[in-house]
Structures are given as C-alpha cells and as structure tokens.
C-alpha cells in the first residue's frame, strides 16, 4: 500500500516565478492538507481540500492556491515566489474532512527560491 507521495523531491526557482507541487494521497484517503515548514520551525497549515474544494485555510496570502482532482490527488501552486517561500512543503492525507482526522504525511518537497 503506497503511502502519501509527493513530487518533485527538490526544486529550485527564481524570485517572481511560479511553482506547482504535487501530492498523491494514501490509498483510501479523500482529504489532502498542505503545510509549509520553514527551517527550524514546525509545519504551518496552508489549506485543506476535500471533494475538490478548499475547506479550510491558514494564514497564507492568495499567492498560495491549490486544486484537488477527482482521484483525490492535489496540487499546490505558489505565484510570484519570494525568498521567504523557501521551505519544505508537506502534504498530508486523511479520510473525510471535518474533525481532526489522523493525518499521514508525505516526505515533502524542498523548495529553494533564489
């Protein structure tokens, strides 16, 4: 049973560019959450998707957007990249939105903005 997978593993972008990160949830899961983990910090909640809609959002600007596909996989898009967007981006999946469901995390995508 494959767990949560994320691609790419590493990414280097230049300020002002746009980036798309991808996540496939654990088999049987229908909810995907995205987190940003800056160096030396805990993960910060970006948003959560369920039934192809954004259900919850953390304190992140509109430059951060997402999408969920019918097969439950998800994308995180970040526009107009800033140096401060450099971080490990984690995807977590769970079954059914609403309530603090147990979340399973992927290995993350390391984004470096230069």
């Amino acid at each position: 049973d494959a767990g949560v997978t994320q691609s790419p593993t590493h990414l280097i972008k230049t300020r002002g560019q746009q980036v798309t990160l991808r996540c496939s949830p654990k088999s049987g899961h229908d909810t995907v959450s995205w987190y940003q983990q800056a160096l030396g910090q805990g993960p910060q909640f970006i948003f959560q998707y369920y039934e192809e809609e954004e259900r919850q959002r953390g304190n992140f600007p509109d430059r951060f957007s997402g999408h969920q596909f019918p097969n439950y996989s998800s994308e995180l898009n970040v526009n107009a990249l800033l140096l401060g967007d450099s971080a490990l981006y984690l995807c977590a999946s769970s079954f059914r939105a609403g309530g603090p469901r147990e979340q399973y995390f992927g290995p993350g995508t390391r984004l470096t903005v230069t």
Binding site: G40, G42, Q56, G58, R101
Partner: protein, 112 residues
Amino acid sequence: AQSVTQPDIHITVSEGASLELRCNYSYGATPYLFWYVQSPGQGLQLLLKYFSGDTLVQGIKGFEAEFKRSQSSFNLRKPSVHWSDAAEYFCAVGTQGGKFYFGSGTKLNVKP
C-alpha cells in the same frame, strides 16, 4: 487563538534513560492532540493521538503521552530511550474544523 508551545528546543538524554517532552496547548474547545516524529529530511510520522477517553495514551515505538486538561498539557514520555529515537518531535492540536496547529518542535539528541 489556537497555539501549541514546546518549551524545550533541544534535549539531550543518555541511551537507556527516561524521556519527557513537554507540550502545552491553547484551544477553546475540546482538543484533539497528536505527537509526530520527524527524522532529518523526512516527513512526519504519527506517534500517538488523543481524541477522548483515557487520558494516558500509548503509541508506537514505546511512547506514551498523558493529557492533563487542568494544565493544558500533553507531554510525551518514554521509559528507556534508544539511539534510534534521535529526531525532532512535534506536538500538534487539531480543531474540529480540520485545521492542525503544530509546535515549533523539540530536537532530541541521544548520547551513547
């Protein structure tokens, strides 16, 4: 506002010694509490969770945690630490709406 505080940034214990990692939370409703572990360059692995019921919960790898509502705490414990336990540990609170709030983590170093 919801928040999680892990007061210890770094902790060093000797192999075989006991361990306690502290976690305090701020949340207005019934908290749903979690402990995760992260090895370098890796994602997070769930150690244990508390939703309701018995306030002492058992997790994987011999870890346990105790929920104390009066102290707003959910401390993680292990009676005997192994060298493989060296990692970073995160406490988190989940809201009914599905948001998760993580602490800033405690890095555990294990001396041989």
